[in-house]
Each structure stands twice: as structure tokens, then as C-alpha cells.
């Protein structure tokens, strides 16, 4: 096996290159898989626009054909309500497919750039090219969206791709592994299933790009593995998304939006409002409004509502259960371990030191931490790791602006949680502990492309070039300056 990780230029002609190695003692079982994808990559077939378009169209067909199996798999994995599945797993993914198909040819075009005097007659442009073999690791909470949307970007950019869906959302994993390969070119695309052990083995191989969605803890492991091969990567991680509610807000509207954001997918959303910061007075006004919203949405007994999901696993269920002791249960608090049901819950008067404030909640539980004013709220937010999103509910636009300017996060939403990620024109990503890199829309294509600087010069105008050759002289230096620099606006150059 070539130690550099790239197999020789010509694709193997029907031979077993790589397969014989996989049984060698201590060798990762994925070596031959990665190797065969790399051979496919080296044939160049994923670069052609026609190939990319056909793969994207096939993905669109997958979403259409498999709509019912998708609904069933999500229901099986976490009892995700059909509207939530349609919205977050099908519509948003189809948007990305359509957007990519509509814009692919303009994205693929060379981007011409401004030139200096010396290069005036040359052609200078940025050429977008695929990286090669890409690995996409998906999480369990939006198991289709969070693996297919990056896949769209990787395919649109011309790469070969291995996807590794989460084993925790096992029905969706099975659906993807069994049906998706039938839609895509099996030489250039593969699904790998398995748990942490398999993922670790997979990560031993050299990839040309890695896209990971998951927790910060595992993000560090992925980045350390990538470092061994100098593989660039995007990490979409998480954190605690704070929600500051100003005193002057329309409480019912705030409550509606908070409950919607917190309870969507039973709170298992990386950009969900994680906790509320508000004054004691506002907490008192918010609680009845929250109660009203929950009843409006889910009825008096949320367990009976078909529109409320369940926790994905016993492990996650137990983890969230342990957080319910923080503060006091003001609303909800009921649980049922047989169904992994946790009622929409609000914890009031939570202290920053309590368990509910020590980890990302990822469940339908909303702690309220009281702070005297917005300055305290901002100070508190800044004392924590930078989250994926900061939310503010306020009618005062100056206050909104203050929170925006004085905090840092992946994204920012005023007066509505989560919606900023449904806009295909906005980059979606974290900062610090909540991640690095971004995607969605054109940012998706750009993430999976190498931006190659190209300058095509002519063989003529050699006398101009002589300015740069030794032997040097004072006279040459002045001319060199004029020829090479890009002048400040408003000055003129006379050569």
C-alpha cells in the first residue's frame, strides 16, 4: 500500500488491488473501500458536470420515492411527527438539491479576478475543484438532513463520498445503507455502518476532506485523526444556545416561539433554544404564557399528542432525566421510560452551577436562569463556551443590536429561534467549541471545493518581465513598484 495514501495514477484494470491487504493482521477493514473510491476518483468521472447533475437528480428521486419509508424510519427512531419530518428532513433537503441543480453551472465556473499592470494581458481566475475522497459523518437527531445536505455539497463539488450515518438512529441508518446506494454511482459513493469502533477504524484512512456533525468531544477526536493526514475539515458541533428575553416583549408570542423551538423533535436540535435568561419579573410573566403555548400545541396531555417526538435512546433519556432536579419544575416534568417520553418541561429559578446548566440539554426541557438586566445576561453568555446560536427576544432594536455586537456565536436570531438555518443564503456553522467551517447553499459547494489560484501568462511581453531579473539597480526598483502594486484608490500611475 502506498504510504502516501494515493494509489498510482491509472485505475487498476480489473485487478484485486487493495483487496488482498484488508485481511492482513492489524489492517483497517476499510482500506480497500477507501482505496477503491480513490481509484474511482482518479478516473475523473465525478468531475464532469453531467455526472454531478445525474447524482443530484437521483438524490431528489430518492427523496420522492422513499418518502413513506423515511417517515416510517423517523417514527421508529424517535417518533418524529410527520410534519417535522417533512419540514426538516425532506423539504429542506430537497431545497438544497434544487438549489444546487439550479446554480451548479455558475458555481463551477472559473471566477475571474482583478489584475495588476504586469498581468494585464494575462488570464487570472479562481478554479473550483473537488478535493477527492470525502468522508461525511452524520448524527442521529436529523439523521437524513445532516448527512444528505453535506452529501449534496460534496457531490455538487465533484467529489467521491463515503457517508457514515449514526448507528443510534438505527432505522434511518438501515434505510440509507440499503436503499441510497441504488440511486447513486456505487463506484464513487459508499455507505459505511457501525458504531464508534468502526468510525475510529474508518478515520485511520486518509481522506481529502472530512465533514463531521456531532458533539465537541468527538469533534476533537475527529480533528486529531484528520491532523495525521493534514485533512481539512468542517465540524458542526453544539453547545448551550442562550435565549435572552427582554422585559418589554409580547410574552405569548415569545412563549409560542420558544416552545416551538424547544419541543421540535423533542428538543433534540443543535440550534434549539437551550436556556432562557430573563429578569425575575419576566420569568413570572413567561411561565403562564409557556404553559398556554404547550397546551395549545400538544393538548392537556402531551403524551397523547401525535405531534410530539420521543427521546432517541435510553442513554439519552436517563441523561436528560438527571437534569430535571435543577431549579424547580414549573411546568411538565412527567416522564415515561417505556416510551422514552419526557413532557415539555420548564425549570424555573435554575442556578448556573446546577446540572441543567452544565451540558447541552438536547431534550424538551427549558431552564430559566434569572439575571437582573441585559448586561448581566451578556456577561453570563460570554463566560460560557461560544454556542451555535444566540437568541434575543426584544422589541427594542437597540437592545437586539447590543446583544449581537457584544456576544459571539455561530449564528444569531432575534425574536425567533432556529429559522436562520432555513435560509439557504446564510452560512450555517459554529465558532470555538460549537464548530469550525460552515455550509448550506453555495457555502456547501465552496466547503467541498479547493479554490485554486490560476494565472495563465503569455510568452510575450518578456521585456516587461526583465524588470524583475538580476542584475538589480535603483532604476529597476522604481519601475518594479509601479508594475506590481495595486494602487490606492484615487492615485494614478504613470509608467
Amino acid at each position: 500500500m502506498d504510504t502516501k495514501g494515493d494509489t498510482p495514477g491509472k485505475a487498476p484494470t480489473g485487478s484485486d488491488t487493495g483487496k488482498t491487504d484488508s485481511t492482513a493482521a492489524g489492517m483497517s477493514p476499510y482500506v480497500s473501500l477507501v482505496s477503491s473510491l480513490r481509484s474511482a476518483w482518479l478516473t475523473g468521472k465525478t468531475r464532469a458536470a453531467e455526472h454531478r447533475v445525474s447524482q443530484l437528480e437521483a438524490l431528489g428521486r430518492f427523496l420522492d420515492d422513499k418518502k413513506q419509508p423515511i417517515l416510517d424510519a423517523m417514527a421508529s427512531d424517535m417518533r418524529k411527527p410527520p410534519l417535522e419530518v417533512e419540514l426538516s428532513e425532506i423539504i429542506l433537503v430537497r431545497n438544497e438539491v434544487n438549489y444546487a441543480l439550479n446554480n451548479l453551472s455558475s458555481w463551477m465556473k472559473d471566477e475571474f479576478v482583478e489584475k495588476n499592470l504586469v498581468t494585464q494581458l494575462d488570464t487570472a481566475f479562481i478554479h473550483k475543484e473537488p478535493y477527492g475522497v470525502v468522508l461525511i459523518i452524520g448524527p442521529w437527531n436529523y439523521p437524513l438532513n445532516l448527512i444528505l445536505v453535506p452529501l449534496i455539497g460534496a457531490i455538487a463539488a465533484g467529489n467521491c463520498v463515503i457517508i457514515k450515518p449514526s448507528e443510534i438512529s438505527s432505522s434511518t441508518e438501515k434505510l440509507l445503507a440499503e436503499t441510497l446506494p441504488n440511486y447513486l454511482d456505487k463506484d464513487c459513493f459508499a455507505v459505511v455502518t457501525g458504531g464508534p469502533a468502526e468510525t475510529t477504524q474508518l478515520l485511520e484512512n486518509k481522506f481529502d476532506y472530512i465533514f463531521f456533525t456531532g458533539s465537541p468531544r468527538v469533534g476533537k477526536i475527529v480533528m486529531a485523526a484528520a491532523a495525521k493526514h493534514l485533512t481539512p475539515l468542517t465540524l458542526e458541533l453544539g453547545g448551550k444556545n442562550p435565549c435572552y428575553v427582554a422585559d418589554d416583549s409580547d410574552m405569548q408570542n415569545v412563549a409560542n416561539r420558544l416552545v416551538w423551538g424547544r419541543c421540535f423533535n423533542a428538543g433534540q436540535t443543535c440550534i434549539a433554544p437551550d436556556y432562557v435568561l430573563c429578569s425575575v419579573e419576566t420569568q413570572e410573566k413567561l411561565l403562564p404564557a409557556l404553559r398556554h403555548a404547550i397546551t395549545q400545541f400538544f393538548g392537556p396531555e402531551p403524551r397523547e399528542s401525535p405531534d410530539f417526538a420521543r427521546i432517541i435512546s435510553d442513554k439519552q433519556f436517563q441523561r436528560i432525566l438527571a437534569l430535571l432536579g435543577s431549579g424547580r419544575v414549573a411546568i411538565g416534568g412527567q416522564t415515561d421510560d417505556r416510551e422514552r417520553y419526557i413532557a415539555p418541561t420548564v425549570l424555573a429559578d435554575v442556578q448556573p452551577s446546577e446540572p441543567a446548566m452544565q451540558e447541552e440539554i438536547f431534550g424538551p426541557v427549558l431552564p430559566i436562569v434569572t439575571v437582573p438586566n441585559v448586561d448581566e445576561a451578556i456577561a453570563f453568555i460570554n463566560s460560557q463556551e461560544r454556542p451555535l446560536a444566540v437568541y434575543v427576544f426584544a422589541s427594542d432594536s437597540k437592545l437586539v443590536r447590543q446583544v449581537l455586537e457584544r456576544t459571539s456565536s455561530g449564528g444569531f436570531g432575534a425574536n425567533d429561534p432556529m429559522m436562520q438555518t432555513t435560509l439557504i443564503s446564510l452560512p450555517f456553522g459554529g465558532i470555538g467549541n460549537s464548530g469550525l467551517g460552515s455550509y448550506h447553499g453555495k457555502f456547501n459547494f465552496d466547503t467541498f471545493s479547493h479554490h485554486r489560484a490560476c494565472l495563465l501568462r503569455s510568452m510575450g511581453l518578456e521585456p516587461m518581465n526583465s524588470l524583475r531579473y538580476p542584475p538589480y539597480s535603483e532604476r529597476k526598483m522604481g519601475l518594479v513598484t509601479s508594475a506590481f502594486e495595486i494602487k490606492r484608490k484615487g492615485t494614478c500611475t504613470l509608467l
Partner: protein, 488 residues
Amino acid sequence: MDTRQQVVARAGAAFRSGRSRPLEFRLRQLRALERMVKEKEPEIAAALRADLHKSECNAFSFEIMGVLGEIALMVDNLPTWVAPKSVPKNIMTLTDEVYIHHEPLGVVLVIGAWNYPFVLIMQPLIGAIAAGNAVVIKPSEISENTAKLVAELIPQYIDKDLYPVINGGVTETTELLKERFDHIFYTGSSQVGKIVMEAAAKHLTPVTLELGGKSPCYIDKDCNLDIACRRVAWGKYLNCGQTCIAPDYILCDQSIQNKVVENIKKTLREFHGEDIKKSPDYERIVNKHHFKRLVTLLEGQKIVYGGETDEATCFIAPTILTDVSPESKIMKEEIFGPLLPIVTIKSADEAIQFINQREKPLALYLFSNDKKLIKRMISETSSGGVTANDVIMHYTLPDLPFGGVGNSGMGNYHGRHSFETFSHRRSCLIKSLTMESVNKIRYPPNSQRKLDWAKFFFLKRFNKGRLGLIALALLGAILAAVIKVAYS
């Protein structure tokens, strides 16, 4: 003497005070840097001469001029770049504010290299300051005169707490890398690049790695050999070959190998006269370690020109080697010196295959009159950047992103790309607390009717022309009113 931790902590505290963020502050710092470069040009040139025997003209062309140009570009464009960037909205957000807000990352670590020790510290520094960050600066200890000068000058001109300079060797740098930064910008070898990325992984710190590799130079039979060879000779022997984007080795057909050699010889005599050792324009190898490394690469090779060395002055003459075997030592590592191997191949296809069998380089060079061939070679290979029919020049255009791919690096900079590299693009959606009725279509209890509305609002069905968008907006407004009535 403050410890590393104290220096980094102070930079962090200074950043959190918020003073590096206002546009005026950033512009003031950049203009101060501009003054520093202009006022201290003689000192900078002297340091570069002491470190690398660099001539004043080369120091100016490659270290000083580029820095001044970059500062000018930043100062001119920064007001535009820092402004919030509005983006297209969908029906759901028609009445909202939707934009990308560029923000600083925090405390950036810039680690420089020794071959262009001034510009490779200054250019990332300029970008990081322009983006509003605090910057910890770590020049290469190998170019010690420049490192010392940078440590003296920077605090005289720009904010001492926000932009500290830390000098030291491998041990100190390893310790420094244990601190938490918000971005690390490293220029150097691939081997150390891995160490930097591994250290960054512990803190989930994003990195830009400007590394190296063997930049191939393909010379086609169909090209003006005289001009091609002159350009190659210039780029190869610049800074005594110690340039990350120097053409590392030549690939050409056997039939033109001799002509290539003759042309390069002729060019070198034009550049430096008969006795290159006496030429004031020819640099030296940076230190004995690299000198010895390069001498070892000559072992067993066919030297058709040059080959003279002088350890006392770290002098190595411009050297050409022919019929070099791809398996030899000189073809296994980045040369970074004035030794030019020529490897013969039989066709452009063989050249492409040769290039693709190796790690992706920082630059690809190709000389040919055949435009189609150039296009094909670019599309069938990968590299950080490309210059066709010349070498190095793609570096000089600030609108072109400068960076590597694969083993030659990740990320890029220069001009606007620097600003983007050192900024966080924060997505902002500012809604109002009114128009609650529109939101109702997404709240439970769910129904098929709601789902159909949701599909209408969310699904991007087709490519909307501008007129279509206006029509859709009107429709959206009408529908919002209808829904309000239906669900109130």
C-alpha cells in the same frame, strides 16, 4: 519577563475589552504598520541581508513592497468588507433583516517561516488585525535577525497588549501551542503542520496551514524555450531556491533536455555574471543544517552546471542536474535550495501521471503554446495554485487566494481572502415579535392543511426570476393575511 501564559492571557483580555473591533481602531493600527515599514525600511533590509544575504532589491520586491500593497488594499476595502452583507430572503423572511455579520475570531496565533521572514509574518498579521483580532506573533527563530527586529519594532508602532511578539525555538513554540487560540496561522513544513493541527485539535481551534511540497515544472516541446527557461531560472534561484513556490523540478522530454540546460546556463550568466559568488544579488543558504542537507541531495547525481559549495559562507551555486531518477533522494523531499533536477518523461500524459502519483504541491507550473494542453493539465491535476508560462507570479495578485491543498496545506490568504480567513461569518436573522399568524403554520397541532401551506412557503421549486420574486412576494403577503384570518 512575562510568561507565555501571561502574554497570551493579556492579549485575550485586551481582545475581550472590545477595543480591537471598531473600524477606526483597525485602520489606525494598519496605518501605523505602514509607517513602521516605510520608516524602518533600512533596518528591515539589513536584517534580511544578515539572515539570508538578501539584496536590497529583493528585500524590497518580495518582503516590503508586498506588505505595503497589502496594507493599502486593506485600508481601502475594509469599510466595505466589515459592513453587514445582506443576503437573498425567502417568503417567510420577506419582512425581516437577513444578513451576514463579519466578526473577529478572538486571539490569533501567527507562526512565521524563515525564508521570507518579514512578509510571512506581516501579511497574516495585517489580515488578522483587519478582521479585528488580537494577534500573538511568533517569528521563526532561524531567521534570528528579523525575529529580533520584529520583536523590537512591532510594540513601538501598534498596541502592545493586543499584538505581542514571542520569540523562541522549538521548545517554546511547542509550549505556546498548548495555549488556547481562536485561530492558528502557520507557515512552514508539512511535518510541523501536522503537529500544529494536532495541538489545535485539542481546543477545536481552526487552522490555516501554508506548507510546501515539490512544485513541478512541466516544459512542453511546443514552447518558446528561451523565454521559458529564463523565467524558470529566475523563479528557481530566487532567494537561493528557498521559496515555497519555487519550481522544484523540471519535467520535460529527453529531446529538449540539453536545450533547457543551455538556456538556463545562459540566463544565469546574464543574471549574475561569470562569478556568481561575487554577485550582490545572489542569496545564501540560511544555515549550516540546510546547507549540509542540500549537499547530501547532490550525492550520486549528474551535475551539468554549478555544484560549487562553500560551507563557511553557506554558498551553493545555482546547480542543474540531468537524467535524475524519480527514486533518488532529491526527488523525495522538497529541495528548498538552488539545485534543479530535470526528470525526463515521454509525454504530457506521463507528466500528469507523475504529478498525480505524488503529494499535491503548493504550485504547478507548465510551459506550452498549446492552450488546450494547459487547460487539460490544470483540470487533471491538483495543486494549491497554478502559473502557466511563468513561475511564482500567481502569488502577486491579491485577489487570488494563496494556499495549498492536501500535503501542501489548508486554507488561504492574501487580500480579501485574509479578511475572510480571520473572520467569523455570523448568520443573522432579525425578526419582529409581530406577524405571529404567519408562524402559526408551523406550530402544532399539525394537519395536512398546515403541511401543504408549509410546503408552499418552504419549498424552493424553481429558479425564480426577479419579476417572479416580486409576484411571489405579493402572493406571500396576501397569503399571510388569509392565514391570519383562517387561524385567528
